[in-house]
């Protein structure tokens, strides 16, 4: 068998298992969100009693700007890390965390208004049911992402992170995913559903 006529190569080594694993995870996340989005679309206009979306929802423009621009800042942070500029990395990373936190604060303000002023809870009608579950599912992903970003930021103050550049890049992919999902949620909840 030493005189093989065929070329031998290890094609598997070209693929990174971390990336493959994360893409698989995101695939399953997409499927999960699809079901909640489907439920939201299915129940549009089916609430027998108010409050209705048009009465209580306003476009969350500022929150959307914050979240979407955090995609840009984390990209700049990862690039900083790759070129070894730790100061730049920490700056952009910190900004990403602030933008993500501001998005969550805006969600909190919105929910506070909906619950205490408009009287809309998850148990009020099917609009409330689907609204809180879909937006809440997304917000819980933001919280997970934010926790991980914060950990990376804090570790970065103490230990050199260049060794983990690859993992931090994957965390960036996850954060981009959270942003893209927000575009879908925004379109479904605030544009189509209102």
């Amino acid at each position: 068998m030493s005189t093989a006529a065929l070329p031998l190569r290890n094609e598997a080594q070209n693929l990174d298992r971390g990336k493959v694993g994360l893409v698989c995870l995101l695939l399953t996340e997409i499927a999960l969100f699809s079901i909640f989005v489907t439920a939201y679309l299915f129940f549009i206009g089916k609430s027998p009693t108010g409050p209705y979306p048009a009465d209580v929802l306003t476009l969350p423009v500022w929150a959307t700007i914050c979240l979407l621009s955090s995609s840009l800042t984390i990209e700049l942070a990862v690039r900083g890390l790759k070129s070894g500029a730790m100061g730049r990395f920490q700056l952009w990373m910190g900004l990403t965390i602030l933008l993500g936190a501001e998005f969550l604060r805006q969600t909190g303000i919105e929910w506070n208004k909906l619950i205490n002023k408009d009287g809309l809870t998850i148990a009020t009608n099917v609009f409330g049911t689907t609204y809180y579950s879909l937006v809440g599912l997304h917000a819980s992903h933001v919280i997970i992402g934010l926790t991980l970003l914060l950990l990376v930021f804090l570790f970065g103050l103490r230990i050199p992170l260049q060794k983990y550049e690859h993992r931090i890049e994957l965390l960036g992919w996850y954060w981009h995913f959270v942003d893209v999902v927000w575009i879908v949620v925004f379109t479904v909840v605030y544009v189509i559903g209102r």
């Binding site: 065929l6 694993g21 695939l27 909640f36 148990a123 009608n125 099917v126 049911t129 689907t130 809180y132």
Partner: protein, 561 residues
């Protein structure tokens, strides 16, 4: 025949003294894919026994008309626990175990891509199962409700709403399955990452064993088909605990929505369970026919198309809820379409055997039984896939007979084939052929005695899940015969257990390659050392061990790159 090419003889350390520490290392904190694979299979077999006993109780209750062997409440809990256990805590761990044990060995890798994640997946699966069974001992809740779930394995809404299922048993059902679903998702991620990134030199995708190919399809299906169930269960939890209205029909919720979400998971799940069976058969039939698999590329194509088409057929479980005509037509056509790639596979297996020098050892016997029984199961499946036929027989014992034909007549046969085939690799000892043949014939006869008559009871209108029935409807004889199949099957399983125990201590030494096979797992010792291969194997064809054994006529001369 060449000697074992890829192992060292001396480094496989054997510590003889048994200690608590060694137990913890081997059974608790292990991240070794082989050990985890065996642990998966062991818990699957334990849950199989529990669930089999529940099935026996169901059959005793239905043996004669107007029977009151158990109470109606207990009966509901029996079929719920039986179905849930068999699907989530027998089928899923078993297929995960086979994947974990075999995939790294088959592709010449040291371990799975994410070993620690793998261990997490196992423990989630195990504790999911224990959580389900702990419901028997749980706080009974209010309103005199019973413990142990009693809502059926597909748990239709609005029965599962708090108003109709108070108490905690339904919550045990939801949470235990959520937990094991996370375990299954982890396994799927691991399978894909392993198959794509861990292959040894020369193992291109076109040379990768079909077993691994089919598991990639399964992993993809798990990733896209489990989330609908997870999502639906999160919604159900929100309904039950926070007063949401997803499936609450009194507040504009929608009970049929649950059915859509459940079967969007539930139908691909059938293929998630059976394709690993196909994978085993595809490895075993060629070895025992002494021929390479017929139509390798067609096999891959058929697997991928089953994986994709099966995502679009779910509502054939829902013909009887009254869908629009367009939906009935679409799902009928899609269902019939799945029969095409499945037929291609059956044809390929038969063509592999055709003209081969067939050896009828126990693994092959189980494979042949699978071919015959799965074909019949497929035919009743096509009957039920036609909407008007299903309107007549949906939710009857005909359906029960059909899916037990696929899962016992099909899947269970392949799993036993796999056990007889790979047991020597995992333990170094052979299972006994004579006992194996007794096991085979008792199980086959018992299976047919149990499930063949149920087709007729179903055709005569016996609905599934009824607690008991009056005499004089023509169901008595069929049910009576069916129950007599249970002790025959049980005797077969008992012989299997004895065979395993006997083989573990007294079995014939297997050697590294008892079946004269061609895939890489047979190129290392039995059982394989922790590191699997001392030297990373080099692969030039889809039958690497054939090339080693037959240097004068290797496969790579005939295969294209």
């Amino acid at each position: 025949m060449a000697s074992v090419p890829y192992t060292l003889d001396d480094v496989h350390g054997k510590s003889s003294s048994y200690s608590w520490e060694r137990f913890v290392r081997e059974w608790i904190i292990t991240v070794d894919h082989k050990q985890l694979g065996l642990m998966y299979i062991i818990i699957a077999l334990l849950f199989f026994v529990a669930s089999g006993l529940q099935a026996a109780v169901i059959r005793i209750q239905l043996m004669v008309p107007d029977n009151h062997f158990i109470s109606p409440q207990t009966f509901n809990r029996m079929f719920t626990m039986h179905g849930t256990t068999m699907v989530f805590f027998v089928g899923m761990p078993f297929i995960a175990g086979l994947a974990n044990y075999l995939i790294p060995l088959m592709i010449g890798a040291r371990d799975m891509a994410f070993p620690r994640l793998n261990a997490l997946g196992f423990w989630l699966s195990l504790f999911g199962g224990l959580l389900l069974y702990s419901s028997y001992f749980a706080w009974a809740g209010t309103a005199g409700t019973m413990n142990a779930p009693d809502v059926g394995w597909f748990a239709y809404a609005p029965l599962t709403e708090k108003a109709f299922s108070p108490g905690t048993s339904t919550d045990f059902w939801i949470l235990s399955i959520l937990m094991s679903s996370i375990g299954s998702t982890i396994t799927a991620v691991n399978i894909l990452a392993t198959a794509l990134c861990m292959r040894t030199t020369g193992m291109t995708l076109s040379r990768m064993p079909l077993f691994v190919w089919m598991y990639c399809v399964v992993a993809f299906q798990i990733l896209v088909a489990l989330p609908p169930l997870t999502a639906a269960q999160i919604m159900l939890l929100l309904d039950r605990f926070l007063g949401a209205h997803f499936f609450d029909t009194r507040a504009s919720g929608d009970a049929v929505l649950w059915q859509h979400f459940f079967w969007l998971f539930g139908h691909p799940e059938v293929y998630i369970l059976i394709i690993p069976g196909f994978a085993c058969v595809t490895e075993i039939i060629p070895v025992f026919s002494r021929k390479p698999i017929f139509g390798r590329a067609a096999m891959i194509g058929a697997s991928v198309s089953i994986g994709l088409i099966s995502l679009g057929v779910w509502a054939h479980h829902m013909f009887t809820v009254g869908m629009p005509s367009a939906a009935n037509i679409f799902f009928t056509i899609a269902t019939l379409l799945v029969g095409v790639p499945t037929g291609i596979k059956i044809f390929n297996w038969m063509a592999t055997m055709w003209g081969g020098r067939i050896r009828f050892d126990v693994p092959m016997m189980f494979c042949v039984a699978f071919l015959f029984q799965f074909l019949l199961a497929g035919l009743t499946g096509i009957m039920l896939g036609v909407a008007p036929f299903d309107w007549q027989l949906g939710d009857s014992y005909f359906v029960v007979a059909h899916f037990h034909y696929t899962l016992i007549g099909g899947l269970l046969m392949t799993l036993f084939a796999a056990i007889y085939y790979w047991f020597p690799k995992a333990t170094g000892r052979m299972l006994d052929e004579t006992m194996g043949k007794w096991h085979f014939w008792l199980l086959i006869i018992g299976f047919h005695v149990t499930f063949d008559p149920l087709h007729f009871a179903g055709l005569l209108g016996m609905p599934r899940r009824i607690y008991t029935y009056p005499t004089g409807r023509g169901w008595d004889g069929f049910n009576w015969i069916s129950t007599w199949g249970v002790p025959i099957q049980a005797a077969g399983i008992l012989i299997f257990v004895l065979n395993v125990l006997y083989a573990l201590f007294k079995g014939k030494k297997a050697g590294n390659d008892p079946w004269d096979a061609w895939t890489l797992e047979w190129a290392t010792t039995s059982p394989p050392p922790e590191y699997n291969f001392a030297v990373a194997p080099v692969v030039r064809s889809s039958r690497p061990l054939w090339d080693v054994k037959h240097p004068e006529d290797p496969d790579w001369k005939y295969e294209h790159a």
